[in-house]
């Protein structure tokens, strides 16, 4: 019986284990030094905020692993011998494998800032990062977060939830405007400020000061030289593949572990998935490393098929993602760059409260729909995806836009306003034919 060992029990590793079990009777072992049981990394913030307990972030009950014969080993892999197919563990034990899946995840970026390794400095990725934040939170007068992006705003929200003053240093001229179009970026920036978070834009971290005991006590802003006293410094300038310990091996790595479309590395029977995998040939318009939940999950499923001799190519489909910026939910479907090219027209509608918006991009010449950016309004994944895949025309989409609405019942629907805006901008006279509702959606999706 083949033995598949998975290093890492995040969403990618866990999904792989579950699908291998579904497809085969192999022996499966998952190794992690972070936590015995799989938990939702994206939910770490809610533990700190008191919304949930650690157990609540674990998607499966403890008995699940035994029942599905997935062996969990809590240990740290210190070395690998690809020839002998053997792993060395910190405990001194070793494990041999037939198939090895590397689902190593990421680590927080550090760009060589002076003081970046002091006590009271940390990112937000691992469970241990959370414990670190917790340890420094008592009596904390101020936290400074260096870096915008999704983790930065999560960390800001976390401290904010405990009434700890927060300063955010963001390199960009507006929050996350390298990903979000200017209007949305500004909307989120305003929302951050409204929540009394001290958002400093267009600045970089210069230095983290030592209080003399090896603990961070202040941050110096590079551009202004301003010194901000603080008891905790969050480093949230992105993440990179957690592959340091593999660099001296035969495994081919660049920024991440190089994999082909089947997620195979250069060494037979060794696979890499999730944040740590770097695709040799990413799909057009996609990055070669996509450190997000959803791609990790898809890769886990894909690799399971490969290991169970039903190999399929990795195909992440049409891009989608979601996030929440304090109280503003964000969903994106399709290709929605921060700055669209000259062939694209962008229909952008914003609610007067400046906390809801819908952006629909389409090809100027053909009218083909390209994608959706949603803020404070929920849209249906399947419907948006089908429109994009079928290259639906913008006017067809607009007339049926209500179908996409996924907000709870009794929420106001704004699709009429969006159609009106389109009519105003183009001189057309479209009418909204579909309002929110499931029946039409079901027949649309199955047609």
């Amino acid at each position: 019986m083949a033995h598949t060992v998975i290093i890492g029990n995040g969403i990618a590793g866990t999904t792989a284990a579950r699908w291998i079990r579904k497809l085969s009777d192999q022996k499966i072992t998952m190794i992690s030094s972070e936590s015995k049981y799989f938990f939702s990394r994206t939910a770490l913030m809610y533990i700190y905020m008191g919304h949930m307990r650690m157990e609540d972030t674990q998607p499966y009950e403890d008995w699940f692993w035994k029942k599905n014969r997935i062996d969990l080993v809590m240990d740290h892999v210190t070395g690998v011998d690809f020839k002998l197919k053997s792993l060395q563990l910190r405990s001194g034990n070793s494990i041999t494998y037939d198939n090895l899946i590397l689902a190593l995840g990421s680590k927080s970026n550090k760009f060589g800032w002076p003081g970046q390794d002091l006590d009271g400095v940390g990112g937000l990725y691992h469970l241990q990062d959370l414990e670190n934040m917790e340890a420094y939170s008592k009596g904390l007068k101020r936290a400074v977060i260096c870096g915008g992006g999704l983790i930065g705003i999560e960390m800001a929200e976390m401290f904010h939830s405990r009434h700890i003053p927060v300063t955010m240093l963001v390199r960009e001229s507006n929050y996350w405007n390298n990903v979000l179009p200017p209007e949305e970026s500004e909307m989120v920036s305003k929302h951050i400020l409204k929540n009394d978070i001290d958002l400093k834009l267009g600045v970089n971290l210069g230095e983290i000061k030592d209080d003399g005991t090896g603990r961070a006590c202040a941050v110096v802003v590079k551009e202004t030289g301003e010194e901000i006293p603080c008891g905790y410094v969050g480093l949230t300038a992105g993440v990179s593949p957690n592959i340091g310990w593999l660099k001296e091996t035969d495994l081919e790595v660049q920024r991440g572990i190089m994999v082909n479309d089947r997620l195979e590395t250069n060494i037979p029977n060794v696979y890499a998935i999730g944040d740590c995998a770097q695709l040799r040939t990413p799909k057009p318009g996609r990055r070669n490393i996509e450190a997000i939940w959803y791609t990790g999950r898809m890769m886990g499923e894909t690799v399971a098929y490969g290991i169970c001799n039903k190999g399929v190519d990795y195909d992440p489909g049409i891009w989608f993602n979601s996030a929440k910026f304090i109280d503003i939910e964000y969903q994106v479907y399709g290709d929605m760059p921060a700055h669209h090219d000259e062939h694209t027209t962008s229909l952008f509608w914003m609610h007067e409260d400046s906390e809801k918006s819908v952006r629909i991009n389409y090809d100027t010449a053909s009218g083909t729909i390209k994608g959706f950016n949603l803020f404070g309004i929920r849209y249906r994944h399947e419907v948006c995806e089908k429109w994009i895949r079928d290259q639906a025309h913008i006017e067809e989409v607009l007339q049926n836009l209500g179908m996409a609405n996924f907000d709870p019942e009794f929420y106001k629907q704004y699709e009429q306003d969006i159609v009106k805006l389109y009519n105003m901008q183009t001189g057309k006279n479209l009418k909204l034919k579909q309002r929110r509702g499931l029946n039409r959606v079901l027949s649309f999706l199955t047609q």
Partner: protein, 592 residues
């Protein structure tokens, strides 16, 4: 703002302290004028016994008085054994029956009471209800100025809302069940029914643990592994004590009842009873905590409208209309309550009462039957059981308002689900069998069916399910096991609605494609203990008989993954995976 809130909190605590201390205020003095008794012979017997016992014209505190008066009643009964019964009188005109004892105690306590509360009930009403309402509103109103959004910060840091360790919770639950059975034994002097109950509990335990193989399942999701919130424990104990007094020892809370007497008189014209006190408190709590719910979900129209609905149905249908009906000499009737939750609907006294109530009474009888025969299947088909459980029902109303701070304490483990299915359907069967017996005996006048005495079955159902389960455990355990303990494990109506919802309804919770990040907010805040995430993360719509459609899972989801919907197709196709995450294939089953 913080100061105003703290002031409100202080006022509320003060009101609660006064409310509790009130029970020890004032005294009782039995005199020749206030001796209770339905007949002159009864009065005379009690008077004589009271004189012999030296209770007459003696001033005593509440607890002492009740115990002394019980002795007096016993003595009166003993004396009557030798009494000669005049020919023009029936036996019970002279003798005091056992069933009359508690009524006489209550009457004596009420008529003999004297003290500040009897002199000035409004003042005390103001110091308790008034102060608590004012304090509560002062605490709640500043929340309306906060940014709209999810307000769950610090719930698991708060000693009132973080829940219990599993072993302490089990101890509480086991202890309460056992205490109820022992109490039931003494109350009814009957060993048969407590034993049957015990055997049933053991059977369910056996089925869940051994037949369903969950003995090895360490249920880490049922309660906190490390912390016990002691404020929550105190709140739970207080609620349990309140229910025990309310249901079975109303004589001890006479001061509370006296305090609301003027309100009862102005509404129905009658004297307040413990049930009036309860109804008033219930309504006030649903309104005040409903306002809290409105402040919490300013951004969510579904939650706002739903909360208005439960506030309205409690105030109008459960409280005001029945009282006004009584004022108009009509039967007390709650038009939104229905069998089998309203388990005494088919009791002979209720049927007779309604039939003798003229056209309106007959209408009430027909209405009550139509509601569960036609209303339940029809509305549940279109909207799911939420139309009742989280929009109309009084128990649901309390759970969604007063219980909202505790919703995260529901047990999400698979083991709890297994318990749930056995217990709630067991109660449904019990209620149907009990009602069938009652109806059979109503039409045939038989008081014994097989080995069962119908009166005893009724009494035990009322005690065990109607009071102990629905009240003591159902509400007393809010801070210990979440706000829907009764609705999830015990309510026979919920079981019935759930069966319709599961097998013939348009309702489901739709999952938004592949957007789930398995964070667990939906499961954590599901008051019915449904592991919503287990469906959401595999893109499967949710059709569960227990779902009351409160909509909180959809509200707390940070990625907009869940939506409560009614759609035209129904049955098995509702739960098909519309879109698998990557490659279509079945899922590892979690049941079985």
């Amino acid at each position: 703002m913080k100061i105003i809130q703290n002031l409100g909190l202080l006022m509320f605590i003060l009101a609660l302290l006064i409310f509790t201390a009130m029970l020890g205020i004032g005294s009782h003095k039995l005199t020749e004028e206030n001796i209770p008794g339905k007949t002159e012979m009864h009065k005379l017997a009690i008077l004589k016994a009271a004189k012999e016992e030296g209770l007459l014209d003696k001033e005593l505190g509440n607890i002492q008085f009740i115990s002394s008066f019980s002795k007096v009643l016993k003595k009166a009964q003993e004396r009557q054994i030798k009494e000669y019964i005049p020919e023009d009188m029936g036996e019970w005109d002279v003798k005091i029956g056992d069933w009359e004892l508690s009524g006489y105690t209550n009457a004596a306590v009420k008529s003999s009471a004297q003290g500040p509360i009897q002199k000035n009930p409004w003042l005390w009403f103001g110091l308790t209800f008034g102060l608590a309402i004012l304090g509560g509103l002062l605490f709640i109103f500043p929340k309306f100025s906060e940014h709209p959004g999810i307000k769950h910060n610090g719930i698991y840091h708060d000693s009132l809302t973080r829940g219990l360790k599993l072993n302490i919770r089990s101890l509480f639950l086991g202890g309460t069940i056992l205490a109820m059975l022992v109490f039931g034994f003494f109350k009814y002097q009957n060993l048969f029914w407590p034993l049957i109950t015990l055997v049933t509990i053991a059977l369910i335990y056996y089925l869940v643990f051994y037949r369903e193989n969950s003995r090895d399942n360490n249920p880490q999701r049922s309660a906190s592994p490390i912390h016990t919130g002691w404020l929550g424990v105190i709140a739970g104990v207080y609620l349990i004590a309140f229910y025990v007094l309310l249901y079975w020892f109303p004589a001890y809370i006479n001061n509370w009842i006296t305090m609301v007497n003027p309100i009862s008189k102005s509404l129905s014209g009658g004297e307040a009873s413990n049930w009036f006190l309860y109804g008033l408190m219930y309504t006030v709590i649903v309104i005040v905590m409903g306002i809290r719910m409105l402040s919490k979900y300013q951004h969510n129209n579904y939650q706002k409208i739903r909360t208005f609905s439960v506030m309205f149905f409690q105030t109008a249908f459960a409280f005001l209309i029945p009282e006004i009906l009584v004022r108009m000499n009509q039967p007390w009737f709650d038009f939104k309550n229905m069998w089998p939750l309203d388990y005494d609907f088919f009791y002979s006294y209720n049927i007779d009462n309604l039939i003798s109530g003229g056209h309106l009474g007959t209408f009430m009888l027909v209405w009550g039957i139509l509601l569960f025969v036609i209303g339940v299947p029809l509305f549940t088909y279109f909207f799911g059981k939420r139309w009742y459980c989280s929009w109309v029902c009084g128990c649901g109303g309390l759970a969604e308002t007063m219980g909202d701070p505790y919703r995260q304490l529901s047990d999400k483990s698979l083991r709890a689900w297994k318990y749930e299915r056995y217990i709630i359907h067991g109660v449904l069967v019990f209620s149907i069998v009990m009602t069938a017996m009652v109806l059979y005996s109503y039409f045939s006048n038989a008081s014994q069916i097989l080995i069962f005495n119908v009166e005893n079955v009724k009494a035990w159902y009322g005690f065990l399910i109607g009071s102990a389960f629905a009240g003591v455990v159902g509400t007393g355990f809010y801070p210990l096991m979440g706000n829907r303990v009764w609705c999830r494990f015990g309510c026979p109506l919920a079981a019935y609605l759930g069966l319709v919802q599961r097998f013939k309804s348009k309702f489901r919770i739709t999952i938004n494609g592949g957007q789930c990040i398995s964070c667990g907010n939906c499961s954590t805040y599901c008051e019915m203990g449904i592991d919503v995430r287990s469906y959401a993360q595999r893109g499967q719509n949710i059709v569960r008989s227990s779902c009351v459609g409160c909509g909180v899972c959809a509200a707390v989801c940070p990625r907009g993954v869940l939506r409560l919907e009614n759609g035209s197709d129904d049955g098995a196709s509702r739960t098909e995976e519309l879109r698998t995450i990557h490659i279509a294939e079945g899922e590892i089953g979690i049941l079985g």
